[in-house]
Amino acid sequence: MTKLVSGDGRTHISSQLMRESLQNKGVLAGTHSEQDLKIFPDVSLVSIGGHSIFDRGKAAILPLVDELVEIKADKTQKFVIGVGGGTRMRHTMAMAVDFGLPTGGMAQLVGAMEELNAILLNTLLAPHGSMPMQRDHFWDLPLYFDAGITPIAISVPPYHFWEPPPAEGHMPEHGSDFGLFQLAEVLGMKQIIFVKDEDGLYDCDPKQHADAKRFGVIALEDLKVPKENILDLELYDAFATAKNVKRVVIVNGLVRGQLAAALRGEDVGTVIYKRGNQ
């Protein structure tokens, strides 16, 4: 039985970390192991781009919704959807920077713009079974999957007023790509699929450079992260330290079938894997 311990002016609970400094590297290492508990290892996370899909309006949104309905009818894939904020979020940020709002204030504001896309998507998917998921109501997921309901998660991480000062510039570093990756990682999901408007990740922006080269299947260890990037740079750091997520896939949501193929585990678009995880 665990005991209460006193004698140094404090009341402790007996444990491996009792009286220890949680800043001490040796103490911290004692909590470490190579693997993490995997809570939902057969689930994929699907992130739908704000700028790349939603800002294009009906022409891009409706075919993607059709594809999602088709994938759902198949009932073999378990997945959670997240959405990006796109141009309204960029506008929010532009105004916030102009006003001189603190970084944490900007982080508090941006999530609302993503939520609009989540509501749009849910409005279209609800007749086929979907629900917005409350911030961290992860423990409802087994119920959702059993009932054939596709949850739409909040993508911006809750860093809010506590967004750390960024390494560069003034804008928050923890955006929706990072937030969704982190959600997939903490829940032990097998992969995260980013649905964008390009056939994958390129070595430079394919909209600006005709000779841009697309990455196919590539190990994260071999990937020189391009400066012009359709994903948050924070995401690559998070993937590098991740223990659970095995694949990050980037597919084109304007091309029918790419998302379905990625969900089936096929190599489509750009597949970034971690050599250590194979």
Binding site: R10, H32, T87, M93, P102, L183, E228
Partner: protein
């Protein structure tokens, strides 16, 4: 709209980074930050160092905070975790829980501590506030309240993993620093059970010298296996817009808390640089 997307502004920066930096208008490149509530003193009451010592340590500290408030000094109290946090961290680590789960578990103990402090301060205007309640601080301050909240940042399941550890790297020290930074407060005050930094552990070496001032880079250069505040805070300090100083004081010595709240340099000051 030539590329099928709708853009919000012209590209001032050549690439997309986090939160897509490329669409910010040129006029916004000159960022002139506005301090939200620069007069507020953000104060941490340590978990293991103070709260787990019980009333003998805590009550005199609260008395000094109340005295400061009566002098018109605006104080927000954030609480640490302590031994109960260590206990749950220990069990969760054994179960190989991901850091995001450990961080979520870690939210509850500082929250309990904040509620305890609120009950003790209620008669002096102590109110328990949640992370989102910063927006109501102007009212609470005008009413003479002493807001009390958990020091744990709300990252929870979204907390990042640290190398070689399952313990969340952003804990209550980070929450105090980041609160001060958001509010535009110049100095965050940490009430602990030691006078700040020494050249060596004063409990083991009686000849250890007290350090009154040190910069964050000097602290890093010492390469200590253990540091007085969370490493994340030391990492963030040089990038801070507002919170450029941490003050670590011994709350067990009468007068220190009030002196620190009045702006005096007691304890150790760690400054960004």
């Amino acid at each position: 709209m030539s590329d099928g997307g709708t853009t919000a502004g012209s590209g001032a920066e050549g690439r997309s980074g986090s939160i897509e930096r490329r669409e910010i208008p040129v006029s916004a490149v000159d960022y002139s930050p506005v301090a939200v509530m620069p007069d507020v003193k953000v104060v941490k009451i340590g978990g293991q160092s103070i709260l787990d010592r019980g009333r003998a340590a805590l009550f005199p500290i609260l008395d000094e905070i109340v005295a400061a408030r009566k002098l018109g000094i605006q104080v927000v109290i954030l609480t640490g975790g302590g031994t109960r946090a260590r206990h749950i961290y220990s069990i969760a680590s054994e179960l190989e829980m991901p850091t995001g789960i450990v961080a979520t578990l870690g939210k509850y103990i500082p929250m309990q501590n904040a509620r305890m402090v609120q009950m003790l301060l209620a008669k002096h205007g102590g109110i328990y506030i949640l992370p989102d309640d910063f927006e109501k601080l102007p009212l609470y301050m005008q009413l003479g309240c002493i807001p009390v909240m958990s020091g744990m940042p709300p990252f929870g399941y979204w907390e990042k993993r640290d190398e070689n550890s399952r313990i969340p790297p952003h804990r209550t020290d980070a929450g105090v620093f980041l609160s001060a930074e958001f509010l535009g407060s110049r100095r965050a005050i940490f009430i602990k059970d030691e006078d700040g930094l020494y050249t060596d552990d004063p409990k083991k070496d009686p000849g250890a010298q007290h350090i009154a001032r040190i910069t964050s880079s000097e602290l890093v250069a010492r390469g200590l296996p253990d540091v007085v505040v969370e490493r994340k805070v030391i990492e963030y300090m040089p990038r801070a817009q507002w919170c450029k100083e941490l003050q670590i004081i011994n709350g067990l010595k009468p007068g220190n808390v009030l002196a620190a709240l009045q702006g005096q340099d007691v304890g150790t000051i760690i400054s960004a640089g």
